[in-house]
Amino acid sequence: MSDSKYSVRHILIGVWTAAVLIFVFLPSATILLASMTSSRYFTFPITKFGFDWWSKTVNSFEVKQLAITSLTIAATVTVIAVVLGFFGALAFARYDWRGRKLYQKFILLPIFFPQSVLGLALLLWFNALGFNLSWKTAVLAHLVWIAPVVTLVMAIQVYSFDPSLEEAANDLGATRWQTFREVTLPVLMPGVFSGSLFAFLLSWGNFPLSLFTAGSDNTLPKYLYAKMVAGYTPGVPVLGTISTAAAAVVLFGGYAAMLILTRNRKAGI
């Protein structure tokens, strides 16, 4: 294999990846541009730059309410999904029990399922049960999809967990609770961390499930959808930009925090 051929192929792959990355972020860039115009309608090239719509949107009471609802849903989902996912992942990857293979596939089914149909099925189901639709039913709906995702994310961590650590703690006289708190939990912490990061962000950005199950409570994606169907307002790009930037910050911040955590632990602090 000649070296020049090798590098040409790598350059091609690099160029292609860069192109795909641009493709992925082009709409976000467009939205950022559109949010910075001070005219009522978006035309490109922008003639009048300005941030009027930013202050208008950020200061609006309605938007604060939306953010609070979205945050409440995402936080509740995260807490419950992490607890369910933690034990679910132990059952998925750590313990050997009859029915495990079947269980593993069953957990995957909600992930491999069209979300809009799941949302409508839940709408019908909640109605049949006589539940009033609100952010609480949206939490349930999000959980059906997000708890399995968290289980998978954590299972990957559990696979690399050495069960003999637990046995050693046991032999040294630790109670079951002590073993759990001092051995199992710390070792699986990175999984818990990335699991909760995913749970929060997926719930924060979810649209199809919220659309059908949140009733009259509005989340940010739901509100934005209603606005963009109704006609153009520059508030939509502003909120879109905020929502994208927030997700990026949480994701990169979370990753940095995890790097620091694992480094500290390896250093024995």
Partner: protein
């Protein structure tokens, strides 16, 4: 009681219980309710009427199944296009970019957590008259651009865009499963690059490729925002029909019957593909 105790003696069963209860109540039960509703007479809201096949007859006599075909076609095209687009990127993430891979992976993850309608709306502003692309073409070349928005091609474009990470990440996982020694051995034995790809790389990364394709297909067939935001409702996918039946038309049994058709397609595919894989092997590689 002792039977129950011995059932729960295996710690795996105890640990699995909470999420199993959630999925039984929040996934299995609703789907059973949907199936039940699909056999109720049209425009009824309870589950206790005389069962009938009226809804299914209506679907096939009214050509409603055409929207199912649209959804199937668009989803298949999305899968094929994404497989071609993502393979070089996934390969690069595993074999070429080294330490940059992590940052690139994070960058590709961001869109996953931004709601799809926001991102699709970005494309609307990009393509719309006076938007970024037509505006640029006009200022630079004085050229007018034909309409791309609100065509079937725009819907496909949007679906390829939205579901890209769902193909990319499983594919990366799959390619990472191919041991480096295997490729080197094949090269040492005189295989050409194309042969290495066809005989070693591709077959060994199949699990990732299959799971990515399945995930993309299933999610794409449930796509609802793409046709509305980018398609301007020129194409009516099956999800749109279902939504209308549930909301404006207030005909839950018809919506349920359509949903059952979609669920049948999805579950046959998912079960057929999933049963071939050992998840311990795919997820548990060290």
């Amino acid at each position: 009681m002792s039977a129950l105790n011995s059932f729960f003696a295996q710690p795996g069963r105890r640990a699995a219980m909470p999420i199993l209860v959630l999925l039984l109540l929040g996934f299995v039960a609703p789907l059973i309710a949907v199936v039940g509703f699909s056999f109720m007479p049209p425009r009824t809201f309870g589950l206790f009427h005389e069962p009938s096949l009226e809804n299914y007859e209506k679907i096939f006599s009214d050509n409603t199944y055409v929207s199912l075909l649209w959804s199937l076609g668009l989803a298949s095209a999305t899968v094929v296009l994404l497989a071609l687009i993502c393979y070089p990127v996934a390969y690069g993430l595993v074999r070429v970019f080294g330490r940059w891979s992590t940052v690139l992976t994070l960058l590709f993850t961001i869109p996953l957590v931004v709601s799809e309608n926001i991102r699709l709306y970005g494309w609307v502003l990009f393509f719309i008259k006076g938007g970024v692309l037509p505006g640029t073409l006009k200022t630079l070349f004085g050229a007018e651009m034909g309409d791309f928005l609100f065509t079937p091609a725009a819907v496909l474009f949007g679906m390829v865009y939205v579901y890209l990470p769902f193909m990319l990440f499983p594919m990366t996982l799959g390619i990472a499963m191919v041991p480096n020694q295997m490729r080197e051995a094949a090269t040492d034995l005189g295989a050409s690059r194309w042969q290495v790809f066809r005989e070693v790389e591709l077959p060994l990364s199949t699990p990732g490729l299959m799971i990515g394709s399945l995930l993309t297909f299933v999610l794409a067939i449930g796509a609802i925002a793409e046709a509305k935001v980018l398609g301007g409702q020129r194409i009516i996918p099956i999800t749109h029909d279902i939504e209308i039946a549930f909301t404006y038309a207030q005909n839950w049994p018809l919506g349920a019957a359509l949903a059952v058709l979609l669920m049948l397609v999805v579950s046959v595919l998912v079960l057929a593909v999933l049963r071939r894989f050992d998840l311990d092997q795919i997820l548990g590689k060290r």
